[in-house]
């Protein structure tokens, strides 16, 4: 199955940009989830759990998802119900975490990027087997 990576993590773009199709979102973790929701509504299928990782969604600013390319015949009616359910639950779950101030410390941001990249790598390893 062909897939692409949807991410707002620049380290994911650097790691996979030359070997995989990467769609970079210049925005927040929530923006990535909302973009994924729209793609799923257009027929794409989620290949990873959107709430992966124990770093909480109000803590890490990064999210990287593997998403299948939609079939040519796909339409809204054909949206994958499991993907719709998972992304819907994820967006709802993220809303219940309290908002925190935006992190600006570059070292801390880099640590979040490293962990996000590591977790995504485990999914890419499974997907590419």
């Amino acid at each position: 199955m062909g897939y692409f990576i949807l991410t707002n993590n620049v380290q994911v773009l650097e790691e996979f940009g030359s070997t995989h199709e990467v769609c970079f979102v210049d925005g927040s973790l929530n923006d990535v989830l909302l973009r994924a929701r729209d793609l799923i509504n257009e027929g794409s299928v989620l290949l990873v759990h959107p709430l992966y990782g124990s770093v909480k969604p109000n803590e890490t600013p990064y999210r990287s998802l593997l998403i299948s390319k939609p079939a040519c015949t796909s339409d809204v009616a054909a949206a994958d119900p499991e993907s719709v359910r998972l992304i819907g639950n994820a967006i709802t779950t993220c809303r219940k975490f309290i908002d925190k101030k935006k992190i600006t410390d570059p070292k801390l941001l880099q640590d979040f990027q490293v962990v996000d990249l590591s977790l995504l790598k485990s999914a890419v390893a499974s997907a590419d087997q």
Binding site: S54, L86, V115, K121, A127
Partner: protein, 426 residues
């Protein structure tokens, strides 16, 4: 398999010239432990410290908690595949140093949580405020990458715990417990009228700071399999997971798994404890489908009547938990699931990120979002540098009077999903 656990009760830890255990007191010369840590050239220095129950001490950020044990009879050694050869463990005799733990600490990433308070409100929430803790804070060499630092600290903890465990070799146990499982056929013949019960143990397996190892193998690469629960007691399952402090399973909890303890206590009386099934919690959805399919199939093939399922973590693992529950129930095997909750600070939100009607028997370890105020303590082992950045904290966490306003999720073991805690409802 038959395993004897000989318990050596440790009543105090003191630094001394000679390392030994005498009359329940563990004497440790930190200078002799240092080379055990520094044999890994990735670690620049290590500082040992002792934290005792009731002291005004806060340990943070905690990476792992380990109980020192030594294998004195039977095959293999403790922590097989990590510090011992990959011989199958879980039979013979093992000595365990009770009442104490080795606690590894170090800031691997800037947002790492994990607080153990030895006194005050926080101490009531962590099981490790009741143990005498030999703490080791490891400093990495300059420029060491996070992956390498994590591994170095993880392995150093096992080496130190094994070294201390060796001090018990030759000692008489204060108490001995025997744990014995039977073969499938033997169990059916021995306990024909008792329900056949298994334990499905879900292991955290997502990537850096979120991993678990079985006989040295990264468990995200396994397919579900069965083990004797006594194998876990010899350290066949170890933790590389140190995010989400409240509901991670430190190595200590795998060694002293309360689900296994309680099932053994009922074994041959009200139930026949058949085996432990280990499975994973991968990020990739197809892996989840495969692992839950295999787990349900194993439950059916073993003709189990019921299983207890424990998970580790929140969010992604909730989906594995519900997949396991649904599919095992669909095979006609009853399930009880053990989890914790992220129900919001007011406790009114949906507790899990996934749910199903088949999950009709649930045990909870508590609400990780519950807010507590931790007092200012006199001494910190480790560092509080990033306490405002960790999960369950905020920019208002560190208050002017030195107290910390945090959610339970920052506290190591507070809402443990194997039930290794004391939270209950009234």
């Amino acid at each position: 398999m038959r395993l004897e656990i000989g318990k050596i009760n440790i009543t105090d830890i003191r630094f001394a010239e000679e390392s030994k255990i005498e009359k329940g007191v563990l004497f440790i010369n930190p200078e002799t432990l240092k080379p055990v840590v520094l044999e890994d050239e990735k670690i620049k220095d290590v500082v040992f410290d002792i934290a005792k129950p009731g002291e005004s001490v806060r340990i943070t950020p905690v990476k792992d908690v380990i109980e020192p044990r030594v294998k004195v009879e039977g095959k293999g050694g403790v922590f097989p595949g990590m510090v011992s050869k990959v011989e199958t463990v879980g039979s013979g005799k093992t000595l365990a140093l009770k009442g104490m733990a080795v606690v590894t600490a170090g800031k691997i990433v800037g947002f790492q949580e994990g607080i153990i308070d030895m006194t005050g409100v926080g101490a009531q929430y962590t099981p490790f405020s009741k143990t005498l803790n030999l703490c080791m804070v490891c400093e990495p060499v300059e420029g060491l990458k996070q992956h390498d630092y994590e591994k170095a600290v993880r392995m150093a903890g096992f080496r130190v715990a094994a070294k201390i465990g060796e001090l018990a070799r030759g000692l008489e146990a204060d108490e001995t417990c025997v744990y014995e499982t039977t073969g499938i056929k033997e169990g059916i013949e021995k306990y024909p009228d008792l329900p056949r019960v298994g334990y499905v143990s879900m292991l955290q397996t997502q990537g850096l700071l979120h991993d678990t190892y079985v006989y040295g193998v990264d468990a995200k690469q396994i397919i579900p399999t069965i083990i004797s629960p006594t194998e876990a007691m010899d350290g066949a399952i170890v933790s590389g997971n140190c995010v989400s402090a409240c509901d991670k399973n430190p190595t200590y909890v795998h060694q002293n798994n309360p689900v296994i303890e309680d099932l053994f206590a009922q074994h041959g009386k009200t139930l026949n404890f058949v085996c432990q099934i280990i499975t994973n919690e991968n990020v990739y959805l197809a892996d989840k489908e495969r692992s839950s399919n295999m787990t349900a199939k194993l439950c059916r093939m073993l003709d189990l009547d019921g299983v207890i399922v424990t998970q580790e973590g929140f969010g992604n693992p909730d989906t594995d938990l519900i997949m396991n529950c649904k599919k095992i129930e669909a095979e006609g095997v009853k399930t009880v699931i053990v989890t914790d909750e992220y129900a919001g600070r007011d406790g009114k939100s949906q507790s899990l990120a996934d749910a199903d009607a088949a999950a009709d028997a649930v045990v909870t370890g508590g609400n990780a979002n519950e807010v507590v105020i931790l007092p200012k303590l006199d001494k910190v082992i480790g560092m509080l540098d990033y306490v405002n950045k960790i999960a369950g904290a905020s920019e208002d966490t560190l208050r002017a009077d030195g107290t910390l306003e945090v959610e339970l999720q920052v506290i190591t073991g507070a809402t443990n999903e194997m039930g290794f805690g004391t939270l209950s409802a009234r």
